[in-house]
C-alpha cells in the first residue's frame, strides 16, 4: 500500500530553515578547513560464465578550498567508462527456451559538480549542484545539508535533502495499447534528438536523510537516523525485454512510482592501546515495491607505524524480491505477477557479501611551516563482492562476483 505523496518542499523547508538560522546566527566563523586536491581511480570488473561480463573504469577528480569567513567551495568531475555484454532479453538460463546470447555495449557517463559550505563552530550549511550526462540519460541534481551541534558538541543533528530532475531516453511507445505491446530501445544513437521513434521520459527523485549523533564517551560515537527517497517517473531499463509467457518479449515494465525507507544505526569505538578503531553500521530497509532488506557493515582501522593505516572491511546485504519479480523460468511458464515484469537483479531475492582491505600511506611533515603541504595521502584498496541469487534463472546469475580495485592520491595544504 502506498502512502500519500509527501510534499517534500514543505517538509524540507520546515526542517531546514531553523537549522540554517542556527548556523547563520551562531558564534564567529571557525578555523577554515585545509585546501584539498584529490584524484581517485576505481576499476570494477564483474566477469561472466557466459560472455565477457561488465567492466567499469571510474575516475574522479575533486578540489575544495576555504575562501575565508567560514565559507568554502568545492568542485569535481567523475566519469564511468562502461563496456561489456548483457542479454537483451531476460528469460530462462537453461532449458529449451534458454536465452544465453548477449549484446555487447559501450557507454560513457560524465558528471560535474560544484558547491559551497558555510561553517560556524556549532553549525554549518552547504549546497551543491551536479549535472550528469550520457548518451541515453541526463541528470540535474540540487542538494543541501545542514547540521547543528548541541550540548557542547556532544550531539549533532544533521539533515540532507536532494532533488533530481532526470531525463531517460526510451523507445516511443505511445502507440502501445497494453504493456505487453511495449518495444525496447535498441540504440541510443538518436536519443535527445528529434526522432519519431524516440521519446524522452522524466524521472524525479527526492531524498531526505536525517541523523542524530551522540558522543557517548571519549571512545564511543553513536548515530541513528532515517532516509526517505521517492522516485516518480520512468524507472525501467529501456533496452531490456522480458520473456513473458513463451512468445511475447515486451520491454521491461516497472511501476513509475516508488517510496523507499531506511532506518540505520552507526557507531565508532576507539582502541587506543592498539592505535585502532572499529566502525559499524546496521540498516533496515523497506519500499513500496515490497523489497525488504537488512544490511550490515564493519570496518576495522589500525595504524601500522607512523605513516601506514590498514583498514579491513566486511559488508553483508540480504533482501527479498519486489512483489512483481519472478525468475526467468517462472515468467515463461506462469506469465507476469500482475501488470509489471522485470529482469533486474536488484529487484530479485538475493544476498551479497563484500570483503576487502585498504592500505593508506600518510605523510605529515613535522614542521608544517617549512613544507609546501600539510598532508599527503596515497592509498590502494581491493574488495571482492560476491552475489547469491535464488536460482539459476535469476537475473545475472552468470555473474557471481565482482572485483573492485581502487587507488587514490590526495594533497592537503
Amino acid at each position: 500500500m502506498q502512502l500519500r505523496r509527501p510534499t517534500f518542499g514543505t517538509l524540507a523547508a520546515t526542517v531546514f530553515v531553523p537549522l540554517a538560522v542556527l548556523a547563520l546566527s551562531a558564534a564567529p566563523a571557525r578555523a577554515d578547513d585545509p585546501t584539498e586536491a584529490s584524484a581517485r581511480l576505481t576499476f570494477f570488473r564483474e566477469p561472466s560464465t557466459d560472455n565477457k561480463g561488465i567492466t567499469v573504469i571510474h575516475p574522479q577528480v575533486d578540489a575544495a578550498s576555504p575562501i575565508g569567513g567560514g565559507l568554502g567551495i568545492a568542485a569535481g568531475w567523475e566519469a564511468d567508462a562502461v563496456s561489456g555484454a548483457t542479454p537483451a532479453v531476460f528469460g530462462p538460463h537453461v532449458g529449451v527456451d534458454a536465452i544465453t546470447s548477449a549484446t555487447q555495449f559501450h557507454d560513457f557517463r560524465q558528471q560535474v559538480h560544484g558547491g559551497f559550505t558555510y561553517n560556524r563552530p556549532d553549525a554549518g550549511i552547504g549546497a551543491s549542484y551536479a549535472y550528469g550526462w550520457e548518451n541515453d540519460y541526463k541528470s540535474h541534481s540540487l542538494s543541501a545539508t545542514a547540521r547543528d551541534d548541541l550540548y557542547d558538541h556532544n550531539f549533532t543533528l544533521a539533515l540532507s535533502y536532494s532533488h533530481n530532475w532526470d531525463s531517460v531516453c526510451d523507445y516511443n511507445n505511445s502507440a502501445a495499447v497494453t504493456p505487453a505491446d511495449l518495444h525496447p530501445l535498441t540504440s541510443s544513437a538518436h536519443c535527445f534528438k528529434t526522432d519519431p521513434y524516440i521519446a524522452t521520459k522524466p524521472l524525479a527523485i527526492d531524498a531526505l536523510e536525517t541523523s542524530l549523533s551522540w558522543t557517548m564517551t571519549p571512545r564511543l560515537v553513536v548515530q541513528g537516523g532515517g532516509t526517505i527517497q521517492v522516485l516518480d517517473g520512468f524507472q525501467s531499463n529501456p533496452y531490456r525485454s522480458v520473456l513473458v509467457g513463451s512468445i511475447r518479449e515486451p520491454q521491461e515494465h516497472e511501476p513509475t512510482y516508488r517510496q523507499r525507507y531506511a532506518v540505520f544505526a552507526r557507531a565508532a569505538y576507539a582502541f587506543p592501546q592498539w592505535r585502532a578503531s572499529g566502525v559499524g553500521m546496521a540498516r533496515l530497509y523497506e519500499d513500496s515495491w515490497e523489497v525488504q532488506a537488512v544490511t550490515g557493515d564493519v570496518v576495522v582501522n589500525k595504524y601500522l607505524g607512523p605513516v601506514m593505516l590498514l583498514s579491513l572491511r566486511g559488508h553483508y546485504h540480504l533482501q527479498s524480491g519486489a512483489s512483481f519479480y519472478r525468475n526467468g523460468e517462472a515468467y515463461r511458464v506462469l506469465g507476469p505477477a500482475g501488470q509489471y515484469w522485470t529482469g533486474d537483479r536488484e529487484l530479485s531475492p538475493m544476498s551479497n557479501y563484500l570483503v576487502g582491505g585498504r592500505m593508506a600511506f600518510l605523510r605529515r611533515p613535522q614542521q608544517e611551516r617549512s613544507s609546501w603541504f600539510a598532508e599527503m595521502e596515497a592509498d590502494v584498496k581491493y574488495e571482492l563482492l560476491v552475489y547469491h541469487v535464488d536460482s539459476v534463472d535469476a537475473p545475472n546469475a552468470d555473474r557471481p562476483y565482482a572485483h573492485i580495485l581502487q587507488a587514490s592520491f590526495a594533497l592537503r595544504f
Partner: protein, 88 residues
C-alpha cells in the same frame, strides 16, 4: 531466505532502539542532567582521529555508494553532514 522472521525481529529491535533514543533525548534535553553525559573538549583526543569518523572520505564514499546502490536494492544510511565528534 528467512526474510519474514528477520524483518519481524528487526521491527522489534527498531521499536526498542526507538525507546532508547527517546530516553536518551529526554536526558539530553534536560540541561542539568546533560552535564553528566558530556564529553569535555580535553577528552576528545581519540575522537578527533580520522579513524573515528563515521563517514568515509567524501570522494571514497561517493565511489562506494555508486557501486553498491547499483548492485543492491536498498539505499540510505550513508550519513549526512556532521558526524558527532564535535572536534571543530
Amino acid at each position: 531466505m528467512h526474510s519474514a522472521s528477520i524483518f519481524s525481529r528487526g521491527k522489534r529491535l527498531v521499536r526498542r532502539l526507538a525507546l532508547v533514543a527517546i530516553a536518551a533525548a529526554a536526558v539530553a534535553s534536560n540541561g542539568c542532567a546533560a552535564s553528566k553525559w558530556t564529553v569535555r573538549p580535553h577528552q576528545r583526543e581519540l575522537l578527533a582521529d580520522r579513524i573515528m569518523s563515521l563517514d568515509a572520505i567524501g570522494q571514497e564514499q561517493a565511489a562506494e555508494q555508486h557501486i553498491l546502490e547499483n548492485r543492491e536494492g536498498a539505499v540510505g544510511g550513508n550519513g549526512t553532514a556532521g558526524g558527532g565528534c564535535g572536534c571543530n
